[in-house]
Structures are given as C-alpha cells and as structure tokens.
Symmetry: D2
Subunit: 346 residues, 4 copies
C-alpha cells in the first residue's frame, strides 16, 4: 500500500501517519517527491485494509498495489483450474454449452426444452425455479416442484443441471437437485451466501453483478475460495450502462481479463448480456473467439409463450444453427491453439 501526502502536508502530519504505520507492525519507506511525500508500506497489508489512513489530516490518497484475492488469483496458481461437473469438464479447452428456459414452467415444457438442448449439443440443462421479479405482481417460479422437473428432465437425457440458489436457507434444497449452484447477479456480493455455498463442494457458477467491477468479482470469488471446497465458474452476463438498445452491456473483454487474473474458468451468457434473441448467436460466436470456456443460453420451445424473458430466448431452429456455427468456430480456435499461435485469453 502507498500513502500519498498532500503537497501542503506538514512535517507533523507526515510523522503522525508514519507512527501509525509502525504501530500496526509494518515498515515504511519514505519518498520525498519534488512536491510531496509518498509513503510505501512494507509488509502484509491485507490485514490493514480497513485502517482509514485517508482520514488522517495531510493525506491526499492511498493506493493498494497488491490484490486481496490470493486464492483466486492466477499469480500464485498459474495453471488453469478445470472444473469437473460429475464428468463434464469446464476449463479444459473444450467449449461447454448450458441451455434451457429462463423459468421452469412445467414438466412437459422442461422435457421438451431439454431434448432440444441436448440435440443441439448442450451437456448441461439450465432453468429457474425461484424467480423473484422486479415487480411483486409477476410470476415468481415453481420453486421445489420446478427443481424436481428440472432434475428429471436432465436425468432422462443424461445431462447435468445448473440452477440458481438465492438464499442460504435453500442451499440444501437446491444442492439436492443441481450439479452446479448458480449465484445470480443480484447476489454477487451477498457474502454470507457466497461463504455458505463455498462449503458445499459443488461448483459455483458466479454471475457478475449488474454493477460489479472485475475487481469486486474476483473478491467475490475469493469468498467462495476461502471456504475451501467449491471451485468457481465465472459467468459474464453484462453490466448496466447508459446504453439501452441492449438489456445490458455485454462486457466480453472480461473473458481474457479474468483468464489473465484468475485460474478459474469463465463462461458467457449472451442471453442476458444482450437481452435480444437475434443478438445472441453473434455474441455467442464472439464468446468462443474471445476464449471463453463455454456459454449459458436461454432457449424455449415457443419463446412467444414463455412466462418470462421470451424476447431473449432462442427457438429450436435458431439454437440449432447457432450451435453449428459454434462448432465451426470452436474447431478454428482449436486449430489456433494447436499451432501455439494463441496470443492471449486462453
């Protein structure tokens, strides 16, 4: 950590800060710039991050130079972590597709969707059973009944399941039916929930918050990692910006950036990332090319009858075509990879 004093800081103010640094057991290196004093803290500053040096008089600002997500960081864990979802590998160089409806609406609907998903190449079935909405008057999900249908539909086709857990009290329930526990965007910084799911041993699909920075996302993963049992799968799903032509702004640069910063795999969610069905296939293709380890997409047998998010769901025909495109692009990425040309991002 570095502490930058104001040009107007008095000698006494500087000394007072230095004394505090030494009080908490750290060494300090003093730099006298032309205009101001800069103090460098030497030692493990993770433990001092909440000490409010900024409130000392004469302090201009403070800057962290080491990150706070040791277990998530690639720095101390250079090899990629490959997540094993009961035999399905994520992060091993293949491109994994998770597909399914926004909401589980009934057994027939999820079975029919699962068949489409599987036929197109998806190995993991998605579907929401708990669906709290912006408005309290909207459909809120089938809850446990939905989980059962989801599991049954997946088992019949030998698929794995990913679904969201929203509440600490539901972890056991959801873990009973799901292979991957998804943490939704609104819960990216629900630290108690993160710590709790991290103890289940199930892989955690960690969606980026709508206003989550890359740095906050990495720290959120650290909460899971600290618990010690569950690997993390990052899911980029778009952030909120001024642009309203798309539902969110799909921040695809997060893919190579997370791959640079962390050893955990990252997949993309072009359905929420764009919010418009005909932008999903090109953004899915872009996800492959950016080096993502997979994707999660919303499909529906009849999007115009979907109970939620129909406008971003693919119908069978579009989904199939997209999956063929993904296959061609993935082959191209493998060719690039085998020639050791790949510059970065995977």
């Amino acid at each position: 950590m570095i502490i930058i004093m104001k040009p107007s800081a008095t000698k006494k103010q500087v000394t007072s800060v230095i004394d505090r640094i030494k009080d908490i057991g750290l060494d300090v290196q003093i730099n006298q710039d032309k205009e101001q004093v800069v103090l460098g803290l030497l030692g493990d500053t993770r433990s001092v991050q909440d000490i409010a040096f900024r409130s000392y008089e004469g302090v201009d600002t403070t800057i962290r130079i080491s990150n706070t997500y040791k277990l998530t960081s690639r720095e101390f864990h250079p090899q990629d972590t490959v997540v094993d979802v009961d035999g399905v590998k994520i992060g091993d160089g293949s491109f994994i597709t998770m597909a399914g409806p926004c909401s589980v609406e009934g057994l027939d609907q999820i079975r029919q969707t699962a068949q489409i998903a599987k036929a197109g190449g998806a190995k993991i079935l998605r579907g929401g059973a708990f669906k709290p909405r912006t408005s309290p008057y909207a459909f809120q999900g089938l809850e446990e009944e939905g989980l059962k249908y989801l599991r049954q539909a997946a088992d019949e086709l030998d698929m794995k399941v990913i679904t969201e857990v929203m509440d600490e009290s539901h972890i056991d329930l959801v873990a009973q039916y799901s292979d991957i526990l998804q943490i939704g965007a609104r819960n990216m910084q629900n630290f108690k929930l993160l710590a709790a799911v991290g103890k289940t041993g199930k892989p955690i699909g960690l969606k980026r918050g709508i206003s989550g920075t890359i740095n906050e996302w990495l720290n959120a993963a650290e909460y899971v990692a600290v618990a010690g049992k569950s690997p993390v799968i990052f899911i980029e799903r778009g952030i909120r910006t001024f642009e309203d032509a798309t539902r969110n702004t799909f921040d695809l640069s997060a893919v190579p950036l997370i791959k640079k910063m962390s050893h955990f795999p990252i997949i993309v969610d072009p359905s929420h990332g764009t919010g418009v069905w005909d932008l999903v296939p090109p953004m899915a293709r872009a996800g492959v090319a950016a080096g993502a380890d997979g994707m999660i997409v919303e499909i529906h047998p009849a999007p115009e009858n979907a109970w939620s998010d129909g406008q971003q769901s693919l119908n069978e025909d579009t989904y199939r075509k997209m999956m063929q495109e993904i296959e061609v692009l993935n082959a191209a990425m493998n060719e690039i990879h085998s020639l050791e040309m790949l510059t970065a991002g995977r």
Copy 2:
C-alpha cells in the same frame, strides 16, 4: 401497455398478436400509423407483464404506460405518509438526523459517538453490527454484541436506533434491538428479504441500490408495501457511474422525484453519497434545500482510528458545525413553506 409492430410486419403477424391479447382477456385498440401498426392493450395489464409479446415475430417493441407500484405510488395516495418511529416523526415537515459510526466497534466507542450525535441534534443513532466486506479478509462486524451496545447507547440518551438487517434469518434478532430496519444497497432487490421485513411492522429504511433505477426502487418499496405492515423510508445514497472523484454519484434529484412519485418520505445519506468527509456538509445542506425529510450521516469520535469508512466520517467539530448550518437552512425552508412559495419537492 402498447405494442409497436415493425413497419415490415405482415397482416398475419399483427393478427397473431391481437389473438394473443384477446386470449388473455384484454381488449385491444388498433392504430394504423403512417408506417406501422400500434396496438393498445385495454384492461389491467399488471397481470400480463411477463407475457413476452416482444418475442412475437413482427413486434418491434412494447411499452408500459401504467406503473406497477400501486401501493407506493402517490397517484392513489396523494397525502404524505408520516412515519412514526416510536414518537419520532419522519415526513411531517421536520428534518430528522440519524448519526453514528459506520461500525459498532465497542461499547465505549458507540456511547461516546451517541453523545456527540445527540448533542448535535440527532434523534436516531445509526451503527453497523454486520459488516460483510468486498474482501473476505476484512473486519466483518461485532454481530449481536454490536446490536446490544447500540441499543444500550441509544437508550441511555433516549434515542431511537436504525441498523441494517442483511438476512432473513436475522430479522427477529435485529428487530429485537432496532426501531428501524435498514435494507442495504446490495439488498434493494432481495425480494424475499423485502417481503419478510415488510411483515414486521417496523419502519423500513430502504437504501437505493448502487445501480438501482428510480423505477426499480419504487418497485422494491412495493414489495414491502404489499406485505402490508411496514412503512418505507427511502434513503438516497448515491449510484455507481464513471466518475471516480467521489465514491458514488450522489443523485440528489431523486429527492424531488421520489416525492413526486411516492407518498413515503425520503432521506439522504451524504456520507456514502460522496465518500469524502469534507463533501458531506455541503451535500447535507443541499439535501435540506432539495426537500429531503432527513439525513443519515457517519460520525466518529476519532475518524482516523475508525475500523471502517473513516474517510467519510465526520469528527465532532465538523459534525457540530454542519448541524448548525442545517438548522439555519431548515429554518429558511420552513419560511419558504409557510409562505406557500414552495414550487415542488416537499
């Protein structure tokens, strides 16, 4: 709700949408614009909000024209709601101050802070007992012990208490010690929690999410209102934008806007809104002038020793001066009010 068809929409596509509207029991008014067809849905569209008309072929977009927060809206409840916190009124034209430390650090610290708060004119004591942080390695709060200290310090000075509840499982615990239940920014859309606190009958201090729109905030309040027992106090605390000279961008326009849209009171949080202690007093003054019903501020006997958020906490001297300024400005606002000059916002 209005459905706008694409200029290229076929007659068959239009008919298919109209059939669906009628299927769900609504009437439709058909407008043939020069270039395209526009359909107006007649009836109670609250129940159809998740029906995905946007996924029909030929549909350009859909627009809601009535809001979905009936109980929160001023439209059907023109009078201001005055919240009674065990005798302390919020929303009755006075300007209420809630003050205290970011975190409860111990009994002495909270007692000392409470005395400063009270002496300056605050009637409600704030303080955090559960403090989950961005990094898992940081101080996480004193938990129940902190709640006890907070209650004791408040009782000794005949003050009321506001503190955050983060988890459904903690509601009873927190409600035992606190007069107002605060919902933090990260939980603005934790709908299960909102519904649960709404049943306690305690006033709910609802912070705006870091990326929460005014519309989403009003809908979040509706979750509390639907539960039927607890009034809402909106708390504007800044939103996340590209500007990083302040911790958040303090969106003070939310004050007159919420007053226009809703009958519930709104207070401001200039400490989180700016994140820098010397911007707190001018923004607190601005809050009075914008018509807020009160404010919540962070103070600390020794900000440079605070365990969290020291850089945005006021010391005793600055807090006292600020409270005198607030008093002068509040008198000016009362003068304006008594002359019936006030144009809007209160």
Copy 3:
C-alpha cells in the same frame, strides 16, 4: 409518435393537446385506456420532433415509434452498402485490417510501422497527425508534416490511408492526404463537422462517442448521409462505464446491432476498446466472430518508446500472431457463411 396523458389529466388538458396536434397538420387517434388517455399522432412526425408536447399540463410522456435516420436505416435500404476505398472494399464479406501507430512520430517510424502492418496483412495504414490531449502540456502531433509522412509511407507499399480530421478548417488539408476521413469519438456529435465531411465524397470512418448511444450514433451517421456524397464506416471503440479495469468498455454487441439497423459497414477498434495490449488479440478475434467488416488496431515498432498510447499498441510479434489467428477465424466465418448457417450479424 405517441403521447401518454396522466391518469389525472382533465378533459380540457387532453383537448388542448389534441388541438395542438391538429394545428401542426397531423391526425390523431385517441385511445382510452382503463386508466388514462393515449394519443397516437398520424403523419410524418420527423418534422415535429422538437415540439415540446411534454410541457403541456396533463402529459405524462411522449414516445417516438419511428426512427429519424431514414438514409442510414436498413429499413429503406435492405442491401449492405459496400464502401470502396480506392479499390479496397469494406463491407463485402471480407475482413479488412487498418493498422498503424497512435501518433505519427517521424518518417522512419511510420515507414517501419507500415512495413510491419503490410507484412501482417493490413491494407490500410492508420496514424494520427493532430493529437490534442487531455492535458495541454502533452505532445500534440506533427500536424501537416505527419500527414505527409503517412501518405508517403502508405504509397510506398500501395496501402490506403485513414486519419482523423478534427476541425472543419482542416478538411481540405486532411482530404489531400487521406483516403478515409476519420471522425473521432469526441466529435461524434459535432454536427457541423459531420455535415461538412459528408460533402467530400470520401468515406467517413465514424467513431462512436465515449458516451454515445446506438441511436445517437445512427443519427450522427444521418448527418453525413444527408450531405449526400460520402458513405459511412461505423467504428466501435468502447464506451465509458464504471468499469476501470479496461480503458473503455468495448461494446461488441454494437456490431450485430448496427448491422441490423443500418446498411453501412461496421469495424471494431479493440485497441481503444480495451486500452491494454494483451486484450487486443482476443477482442479482435471476437470482432471477427461477431460479424464485423474489419478492424483498426494500433501497432508500434517499439511500443515502450511510443509517444502516446504505448500500453495499447501491439509490437510486431504479437501483431503477426494476431493476424494469423484472424485469418483462421475469418476462414471459419466464410465456411459458416457459405453454408448459410449464419443466424445474424452479417
């Protein structure tokens, strides 16, 4: 255009709005929703867009349903426009690369860079001659001398030139040396400049403003299109958001979106889009897969000695590898295209 009246609007207020609509020569269709009146304007509303219906008492809001960029829109021009830059085609299904340094620093530097660019496969040379910077104390460009060097270096290798024109008074000067006139992000809404370059007949490379919406960008293109002579090439270069791990947030969804809305080609600028050199190759690859018609990238013989933007420039080795990757991916995209699998975005 649609005008939505408030539920509380009086009959007199509604009549007053209707009278105004008729006054300006339009017809009106009146919809009596359950709760409120909605008025539909029939006729060419392009001419009435600034009439402030929103300031009438009783009006809740107004909504435009037809766009205002007729010449740019794909609606009335379904075929792709292929831009011919003196023999080099943009928008014909190939993927065109424009490469070069941020600033022209001297004849040797631009010659050396041009050789690298050409050898890697770029057909168009980029380079800045006018470089106004955030701070007035920074390097501001070689101006006309820089333009000469740029043209000479391009001519020696039979390359085309793209460079920025910042000021109406410079148009003739820059047009003398450059094949494509680039409009920088800061000038996306400098409408006088747009109208002026639109008269040159040269293709216009129109960068998206740092806070420009897709809709504003399309309208900016319309200013060029109205002038009647110059085709537009959209350049996505990232927008400003809260995320600061990258220089900008690269909004790649703009590629399929612009392709859907407009007939003009779109290329991507991963250098400014990310601002970090090792994110450039994966984002360039993603650009190909998203369906872009090309890209513009910053390269430098010795990025660590560049006078500006060195951190986002590629050195020769990385550039070469990236171009090989692009070739493999472009072949894959052609395969997809030839099979008529492509779902959208090109």
Copy 4:
C-alpha cells in the same frame, strides 16, 4: 509519478525501466515492497506524461500523484477568482442567475423572456442561436439573427449576455454579441476551441461534458487558462448514467469538489441537469445550499410552444416563485457564512 512493477518482474525488466527514467532526466527512488518493486519518479513529471512506461515488460501499472492543471488548481492559487462580467461579479459570495430560453426564436420571444428574467432577479440573459441537434431534420437555430435579438433584448434591460460558441470560425462573431462565451458539453474536450476562446479575454462558461470526469474538466479549464486571458466559470449540467428518469444525472457534489480543487467559480444548470421542469426549482435550491456561485436556467413565456427543450423550461409563474425561494435560501447561506460556520464548499 509512481511505477508499480509486477511481482513476477525480473531484475532485468526493473533495470530497463530505471534506465529509461534516468534517460529522460529524472531521478528515481526504488522501493522493494514485500512482493514487488515500486519506483518513484522524482522531478517535473508533467513533461513525461506520454512516455508509455506501461508498455514496458514487467510493469504492472503507473500512477500520477501530482495533477496536471497547475493554473486552474487551487493549490497554487488559494484565493477565489472573482469573474467580472462587465460589472456583474461571479464568485464574490453572491448568487448570480442567468436565465432565458433554450433557443432564440424571434425578437418578440426573447424580449418577452428577458423581461420575465429581469423581473425575477436574473442579471444575465441566456439563449441559443446555434442549435445543432441529434437529428439533422430538427430546427438548427437562428444563427447571427438570433445573436442580434439576444443582444438587443439584453441591452434594453441592462442585462449581460451568455451564449454558446461552437466553432473556432464563429468566435469573433459570437464575441461581438456576447459577454460570456459558453462552451457546450459536447465541446468540453474540443481543445483547439478551448485554446482559441482563451485568447479572447472574455469569461468562458465551461460546461461539463456528458461523460466528463472532474479531472478531465479541470484539465479542459487548463487549456483556457494556459491561453492566458480568459477566466473560467465551471457549469455543472449533469452526466450520463444508467438512470433515465431524469435527462441527466445532476452531479451536485461537483460544486464543493470543484471549489476544493480550483479557484474558479462554479454555477449549476438544473434545467439540463434534470431535464424536467418541476425538478428545476428544488435542484436550484440545492445548488445554493451546496455553495454554487450561481445558476443558469431555461425559462420561456409559453414552454408548451417552445421550439426546443420545452419540457425543462419554467414558465413565468414557476420561475418567480423559484427566485423568491432562492432569495430566502441565499440569505440563510449568508447568515451561515457570516457566522463562519461554513464547513466547506464556499
């Protein structure tokens, strides 16, 4: 400037950076943190800001610790600059109002508006003569004719004039009619224009860009200041964020922040800041309380007939009431000031 090396940086990489620092004539202080090396540059780093240390291998990031706006900064100019607009003082503790229509629509309209403005207490008349719009099909302003009407209306009532100059080629023309030259939000970083208006000697009203950071705004002012003749008046007018309930997000914290960082005065523009007429008075009041030196507001004799921006213009009645409120609040601020209570922000 500080250069932070990666933990993985080799000795050779560190040496290579140090050599470069010495090459450009600066001294360096080397800090060996527990995990990584941090280099402090000693000397005048303003001249080296474009040297791309970030592109050196082994460099993690670089951090500027001294600002680049020496003439604008309060650091070296602690006293407030009072701007004298031909006898009307801005920044002397009074609160100055500039009022008028968005667009000058004709002589009658501007005369009528000027009378309303003057009667309410405004000393400076605003009005737009050049109005380039998002769409090329919209009204574009009366140009020189508008300037003449504006000057005439102001002169008849002994008012001063502020109007926008958009183009270097118009400076002489606009300066002939206007006392203050306004730089619009879109031109905040049109550095050539800034340098040119800075030579006129007229005060420059510098609007914040829609996506302009405080730091960029201060640097933009520096371009004017460097030219040496014209003082700057900052105008906060809102920034673009995800919130769309208001036209912009009015960032009122900019008032005390700019006052802390710079000696130049700052005024607020609640009309553009909110974009909705009934939010203008409360935000104007908030501007006074935040410590602004004045405001600029849009008024119109008949907002519903305005040719542009009618929805944010005040009619005579609302304007008058607002001005009375402003007077009461300003008296309160003077009382606060005279008691030396003021904590910050003026």
